[in-house]
């Protein structure tokens, strides 16, 4: 299958200091929706900045539509709809001015898609974007993104500032639009439950590394939440065991998350002197649970 985005061995640090990630590699095939998840400061926006050519990576290679991103042609840029973090737009323009402005740059511009979403805002076409609420500004930015009718949508924290009703509306609209038109999406969001309804594949980043990259359906099927009662109060938590994530002391016992089957999990615990006789495994209930299970609760 044709890859719209191809990232190979990407390495990046904050300045000369902390490692964001090393040898990050992934592909985004045409027609798929990839969600990049991670806590604050794990490098989600940095990745988008690199992909859009606003940041030179310290190592590795990124290609979009087969072109090296630092040499992306204007024709290729016209095929990418970019939503910046904070839904930044030209706030000195009015709703109609900004639509008219962008329509000059995108040959497949869909005016109706933009004004269709604007109707729901109950604002006049002459209203200045700077005079709108944060949520309304976000909706204007999303309307512009959809109107571009681009082949690739890059959305950085798209749900920021949106109320639940509009979030649901946008997620459903985007999903239908992407699937019916065979579009590709690369997105981040702080609201994981939105992504669960939307993304096909997800990458979960932790500080300095990728925790997992797999289809959401596989993640939900394979990740297990394990519970057990400790043999004694001074029995150590299963920290630093490969394949075991976010161990913690809960109200009714101890819990952790793992992709490992129960037998293998029990064996690894036993190696560390943890008997875990009452070990039980449970499916994760949501992508948010899976995310917190893998990244921890801070």
């Amino acid at each position: 299958m044709e890859n719209v985005i191809s990232v190979k061995n990407l390495t990046q640090r904050y300045g000369r200091g902390r490692l964001i990630y090393e040898n990050l590699s992934f592909d985004v095939p045409k027609g798929s929706i990839l969600g990049l998840l991670g806590k604050n400061g794990t490098g989600k926006t940095t990745t988008i900045n690199i992909l859009m050519g606003f940041l030179k990576p310290q190592g590795g290679e990124c290609r979009i539509f087969g072109e090296e991103i630092t040499r992306l042609l204007p024709q290729s840029r016209s095929r990418i709809a970019l939503l910046l973090e904070g839904h930044v737009q030209y706030s000195f323009m009015t709703i109609s001015q900004i639509e008219k402005f962008y329509s000059n740059f995108y040959p497949a511009w869909n005016r109706d898609a933009y004004y269709g979403l604007m109707e729901k805002l109950r604002v006049s076409p002459g209203q200045k974007i700077s005079s709108m609420s944060n949520g309304q500004r976000s909706q204007v930015a999303l309307g512009l993104i959809l109107a571009q009718n681009a082949d690739l949508l890059v959305l950085d924290d798209f749900s920021l500032g949106l109320d639940p009703g509009y979030r649901r509306l946008f997620v459903d609209y985007l999903r239908d639009f992407v699937k019916s038109e065979n579009k590709t999406v690369f997105m981040t969001s702080h609201i994981i439950q939105d992504l669960e309804r939307l993304v096909d594949d997800c990458i979960i980043l932790d500080y300095g590394k990728i925790l997992t990259h797999q289809p959401v359906a596989d993640l939900m099927r394979n990740l297990r939440r394990y519970e057990y009662v400790a043999a004694s109060a001074d029995e150590p938590l299963p920290d630093n065991i490969e394949g075991i994530y976010s161990p913690r002391e809960g109200h009714d016992g101890r819990e952790f998350y793992s992709f490992l089957p129960q037998d293998e999990t029990r064996r690894r615990l036993a190696e560390k002197g943890i008997a875990a006789l009452s070990l039980s495994s449970h499916h994760v209930e949501s992508l948010e649970d899976a995310f917190i299970g893998l990244t921890g609760r801070y």
């Binding site: 050519g53 204007p74 024709q75 970019l82 001015q97 402005f101 995108y106």
Partner: protein, 232 residues
């Protein structure tokens, strides 16, 4: 596959965006220029009323005075105002990324932006230049009018210099470099005001025009650095 190349529509759209962004600064600059130009003219009129036009001639010929000191720093202020009004919104929340993502060649995009500011300043400066020329031609000899007008040229160059430097300072992503650029700007602009005698810059105006236009490269350099992520 949809394709685009740079079209006149894109240039028009960028021009419209820049005019929209700078229109307040443009009208403020025009008002400021009109105010100080009228003030200078009224000052000469007052001298003519009290001492007669011969007195104006005498002072101009004997003391090398052109009665234009009150407008000296106005083009500089206009250049700063337009430059900041145009480029500061681009840097708020890194909005420049939106502009750089537009599907047209980036150097041409930046040049269109700079041409807008340059054009607005030219309109303001021309109005003032013509107003001064018309007024002086009614009270003094054509040769002396040319002399007065020629002496205002370094101030307009200072205005353009301030515009290009303020644009480059805003577009630059690193604070350290911004400070260095601002200091260089202050030094270069000061050069246009250190010689108080009229005619002192006559021999260097042409090279100064070339250097001023070359300042656009500073802005291109800042954009290149921005794209490499060299920002604080």
């Amino acid at each position: 596959m949809a394709t685009t190349s740079h079209t006149p529509h894109m240039t028009k759209a960028i021009l419209a965006k820049e005019i929209l962004k700078t229109r307040r600064a443009f009208w403020c600059s025009l008002g400021l220029t009109a105010f100080f130009t009228i003030y200078a003219i009224l000052g000469i009129n007052r001298v003519i009323t009290t001492h007669g036009v011969e007195h104006v001639w005498l002072i101009m010929l004997m003391k090398d005075q052109t009665f234009t000191d009150s407008i000296k720093y106005v083009p500089l202020l206009c250049g700063l105002l337009v430059g900041l009004a145009q480029m500061m919104p681009e840097m708020q929340q890194n909005r420049l990324k939106l502009t750089l993502h537009l599907p047209c060649p980036q150097n041409r995009l930046l040049m269109t932006m700079l041409a807008t500011g340059f054009g607005e300043l030219t309109v303001i400066y021309l109005i003032q230049f013509v107003a001064i020329g018309v007024y002086y031609s009614r009270i003094i000899a054509p040769e002396m009018t040319c002399y007065v007008l020629f002496n205002t040229l370094p101030w307009y160059l200072a205005g353009y210099t301030a515009y290009f430097f303020s644009a480059a300072v805003c577009l630059e992503g690193k604070w350290k470099r911004r400070m260095i650029l601002a200091l260089i700007a202050a030094g270069v602009v000061t050069l246009y005001f250190i010689q108080p005698m009229p005619g002192a810059y006559n021999g260097v105006l042409l090279p100064a025009i070339v250097v001023t236009l070359l300042l656009t490269w500073l802005c291109i350099g800042s954009i290149v650095r921005f794209r490499q992520g060299l920002i604080d």
